[in-house]
Symmetry: C2
Subunit: 499 residues, 2 copies
Amino acid sequence: MNILYDERLDGPLPEVNKAELLKSLQQALPDLDILWREDELKPYECDGLSAYRTTPMLVVLPRRLEQVQTLLRLCHEHHIPVVARGAGTGLSGGALPLEKGVLLVMARFNNILHIDSAARTARVQPGVRNLAISQAAAPFGLYYAPDPSSQIACSIGGNVAENAGGVHCLKYGLTVHNLLKIEVLTIEGERLTLGSEALDSPGFDLLALFTGSEGLLGIITEVTVKLLPRPQVAKVLLGSFDSVEKAGRAVADIIAAGIIPGGLEMMDNLAIRAAEDFIHAGYPVDAEAILLCELDGVEADVHDDCQRVREVMTRAGASEVRQARDEAERVRFWAGRKNAFPAIGRLSPDYYCMDGTIPRRELPAVLQGIARLGEEYGLRVANVFHAGDGNMHPLILFDANQPGELHRAEALGGKILELCVQVGGSITGEHGVGREKINQMCAQFNSDELLLFHAVKAAFDPQGLLNPGKNIPTLHRCAEFGAMHIHAGQLPFPELERF
Amino acid sequence: MNILYDERLDGPLPEVNKAELLKSLQQALPDLDILWREDELKPYECDGLSAYRTTPMLVVLPRRLEQVQTLLRLCHEHHIPVVARGAGTGLSGGALPLEKGVLLVMARFNNILHIDSAARTARVQPGVRNLAISQAAAPFGLYYAPDPSSQIACSIGGNVAENAGGVHCLKYGLTVHNLLKIEVLTIEGERLTLGSEALDSPGFDLLALFTGSEGLLGIITEVTVKLLPRPQVAKVLLGSFDSVEKAGRAVADIIAAGIIPGGLEMMDNLAIRAAEDFIHAGYPVDAEAILLCELDGVEADVHDDCQRVREVMTRAGASEVRQARDEAERVRFWAGRKNAFPAIGRLSPDYYCMDGTIPRRELPAVLQGIARLGEEYGLRVANVFHAGDGNMHPLILFDANQPGELHRAEALGGKILELCVQVGGSITGEHGVGREKINQMCAQFNSDELLLFHAVKAAFDPQGLLNPGKNIPTLHRCAEFGAMHIHAGQLPFPELERF
């Protein structure tokens, strides 16, 4: 799926002699675990976006801060690029290694340092798994809200680097909204504290700047997150619709009614049938779309909101609205949703998962636009996504063994993201830009904006050693890629008809 | 109150010929309103922090974006510093003009451009008053949550520049948490869009970086904020305590119990008596401290939470907990709090309002530390503040006509802020750094962190023309000021005794 990416567009990387580097590292850090043999490097050649693969020059697995500090100073001195990696579950190739760079694996920094139940905070090392934080907080009745689908495996350091989301972001915000403080190392090995345990921190908000910066500004070495009290109850409603447009309308109406669900997810017919066939969740296989709406909080509040959501869905044209009768059915409803990606994987040899966000009011129009683009490119597209916050995950089905299909899938994906930009949305919701969407960044931002990103990058890393070729495209790349910056509503998209 | 500020520490500003500049401006922008006569300039010589005064060289009052753009290009070309000003209600001298600079007043950009009730957003010009947004949203049952005490007068552009807070920040967040998108102009007159209407925006989070940057990075020309549905009901409890420590403990316990009040405010005896004498709110004048705790949301939820807060306050040692019997009493309870500053103004010829934040668990210790510092400096300190989010507003009472008192008040204020930093807090919660607290920034940040701020600043404004001498101190200033960076818990403060 690497067709549209051409690393020459990002300029040449420095020439590095692997043997010499290895020797320097071993001398400077005799107790550091370094992987350098071909067979040892193999497991690190991709992250969760397995279509992109590169063998790293070296992999290092430090356990102590001082090791990371010395490593960074050494790489800085010798102009060697460094790519940081957490658990390697990212979906945009943000932790994809470089042939001429060091892959810095932070997985062994996996200690929970402190849970402060009174302040409702957790201070942890970056390699701690997302779910492990909630597990450690559970005895206090607390949890960490952002819940990416990979939460069993993904690490909090990677969550911060990608500003990860999840099913509950609509109500509880992205990673950036649930952070208090991080400790980082610059490429020169300097320790910085960004944010504070207090409400606000003076000076520029470097904590927010760092969150989602995808390893381009520094290495995260410690994270302090906010914890929330577990909601008393959670109920799920399943609404069935005979068109995706009606379901899209219901989403907009639920939000407009002032209800903030814990989760609000949509699946279209292709996704419904795939999931039902795989999980037997009890989904209506004839529906063109379903909405799963979870309401959480205190009993009385949830009861009232369930009534209101039922009414709104019905008014928007739902043919049926069912409330999960018990906890077992609630879990089954969610299991279908959470396994929708692998379920669709059973329908097609390959699929390509997109991650665009749009203003909620554009949902019906964009869903229709995607259907038309799918027809035009001759590929099926399934839709399973966080409808409540407008974060879409169109899944493009294709067969890489059919000549041209891989290329068509990638081109269709690019078109869908550009459609998102055109209606005022963005090319990523929670998966990040990484290497995968670096070309679409040329559509999202104009050259003044990109130059500003480069200037900010240079403030932290003037030599461009941290994760080069990811997140922020060079102007050269944008010129070669030929993408024009798209202003919302500016270019006419024939695919887009307003209702 | 300008004793500790010495502008020579920030390096010389460029020499500007006022007559020439005026001529250039009049030629380039014949329809721009420019004030240049001494008597016209007078009203602009300070902002809400009236102790600092400087007469601006010129004041410009543009009405159209193109005027601002041309002005900035001209200032950039001639190396003329520009200070932006909204309504001039800021409390840290962030909009204090420069003798050798242009004061750019954005007050005439005061149109509400669009209220989208379905998306729950408002798109407004930067000069729109904070309260005007909620008024315009009211017909849709919506409001804009952040509510600085100056909300009748302060402008949303200034709110963004200072990352303003208010009584309801504990539950609803600061300005940065309620923003979607801003349009800005760089010092070179380039238009940038930061953020988007979608959930997340790729690339670096420049929207958050810009928020609270106090006019150092660019000029805000448009703001899109999130709106919230009005809560169904709001109730207020008033708890009386025989010590500030017990009240501080109750605050920590309320939060630890998983309750998130709409507002949670503390007043100490000096403040209680002053407010009661002025407003007749019905406060217990013998109490050493009171807590005002507002709970808002749906009826049943608020009812339950009121019970729980009452129990928590009682367990923490409250001598009495009263619930406002009706809306009239609720309003009266708040009127006392909102008028506490002018009320205290009646006790003393002068007062100096501080704005530090601390982790909530440190409230009892810091309140005792402040009392000891007050004794040491021989000055009375009243405490009225947003206890729930640890945002303190100690008010130092003094008489500027008594020799040495002004200086003592300023020195005591500095000590209090350093105490906040020492316990892991910060030197500002919602008032910003501006000119007032620029020296304390040397205590808050180390030189690596300050250098990074300067590098980020240079990414936007390499010549340093936007609001020089505010927010981020030069390293030269920190060296001259002699302040050491304080690590939380590092330096022993004799004032601080842990309980």
